[in-house]
């Protein structure tokens, strides 16, 4: 299964620049030739106050409040480097809910 990088595109995340972030991530993934990863939009992760939100699946990493300046570190993680733990600020129960939904194939 291809790894998926899901970028929330609901209104709050979008207002905070999620669309540009997604496009930038897609371009960088393409430029760096990371073939086993697809960057795609997601309808909502329910953490609207803390967006833009990005989730990696199936490894289940969550990046909240992502800014353009975070993309170098995130790309490093996508390419096999360390997780960017400073962006993992989301409550455990919400993470569990969203990860379970992803496990059931709701994309």
């Amino acid at each position: 299964m291809k790894r998926i990088c899901l970028v929330c595109q609901n209104v709050d995340c979008k207002n905070r620049g999620a669309d540009e972030l997604m496009k930038e991530l897609q371009q960088r993934v393409k430029d760096q030739g990371i073939d086993d990863l697809e960057v795609r939009p997601y309808l909502c992760f329910g953490a609207c106050q803390e967006g833009p939100n990005v989730v990696l699946y199936p490894e289940k990493s969550w990046y909240a409040g992502v800014k353009k300046g975070d993309l170098d570190d995130i790309m490093g993680h996508l390419a096999g480097g360390p997780n960017v733990t400073r962006l993992d600020t989301i409550d455990g129960s919400l993470k569990e809910l969203i990860y379970q939904l992803l496990d059931t194939g709701v994309f």
Partner: protein, 421 residues
Amino acid sequence: MQGILFPRGVVEGRENLQAYRARGGYEALAQALKGFSPGQILQEIADSGLRGRGGAGFPTGKKWAFTAESTETPHYMVLNGGEDEPGSKKDRLLMENLPHLVLEGLILASYAVKASKAYLYINAIYEEATRSMSDALAEAKAAGYWGEKINAGGDFSLEILLSPAPANYVAGEDTAALEVIEGKQPLPRQKPPFPATAGLFGKPTAVNNVETLANVAPIIAHGAKWYRSFGTAESPGTMIFSMNEEVHRPGVYELPFGTPLRYLIEDCGGGVKSGNRIKAIQPGGPSSAYLPGEKIDIPLDHNSVRQAGSAIGCGVVHPITTESCIVEETLRIAEFFSVESCGQCPACRMETNMLAAMLKKVQQGQGGQPILDQFAKVIAFNKGKGFCNLVNMPGPPIESALRLFRADFDSHLANGRCPQG
């Protein structure tokens, strides 16, 4: 059965001022303006036990008291004729056929809450209802039923204006209606404050459903005690129920609260068209929980329907027979709420979109049994997190469907289709 709004059964055609007066119309208003204070009118409505007919069933007297007692001025009155609930036809029928009954109720209500201005907020696609109410306004104005200094003391003046309502679901929500009347987009406001104390232009405003206001003049004319001779102790009076194409005789039926659900479906509606067994009944519109078909003998009143596990809402009764699939039914409902969510509250956007996406998966046979466990979690996560109640609406039908008709869901997950094939 004798009705209150339709004493001789549902009327055909529009009742003009002359015909309305010939059966005692506007006598309640004349009496009220001559010899009763606003407080006395309000007390009579409170004593009658009248409850709102827009869906929530809140006691009208209590709602009016918040507005009437507010020292802020001016006070406003709003007739909510948005009626965007799918399958509901009652408010349109009342405005089209009995415009003066509605208008007399509105004027009495305005007097009771001490409103100096009232708005008729009517669904813009209801052209005939708008014309009917507009003509009634002119007829009643010419007859002196509203305007400057219309009561005995000369201190009550009322201006009434029409305000078209956008034809989308959320525009019928009371605070969204206020936004539209103020010239803005139909987006619900955060509550509290409630419109009763801080509504239109920030002033105390009573917002009432059309059917609610249509009950006011008969109550004032005949008294609270007479009104309570209909219905049950906690749901006095009658209610107009809407039945749609599932039955032989679709239409609206005014019945005393407490009438058995079976009477509505079989005697009024003529039974279900398919002739198959009724497996489920949604008694109060798309946001009400399903009842199993065996509950067809419950009385139609607020308490009985709640005790049975659902809500009477605005009285749109939807029987579902064995050839129908509950997965398809709930998917339609989830998609409806996802389309109708106004989008301003993150939780509502998330929930309505997510539930529709999840049900689509189930319909297509994807997600396996674990996806069924996620519905309650998504609903619980978002519960009560919106400005208006829409965020809470898909929950009851979906959760009751999962509880009562698990076999339909299992069949979709196992075979990608309904148990009926």
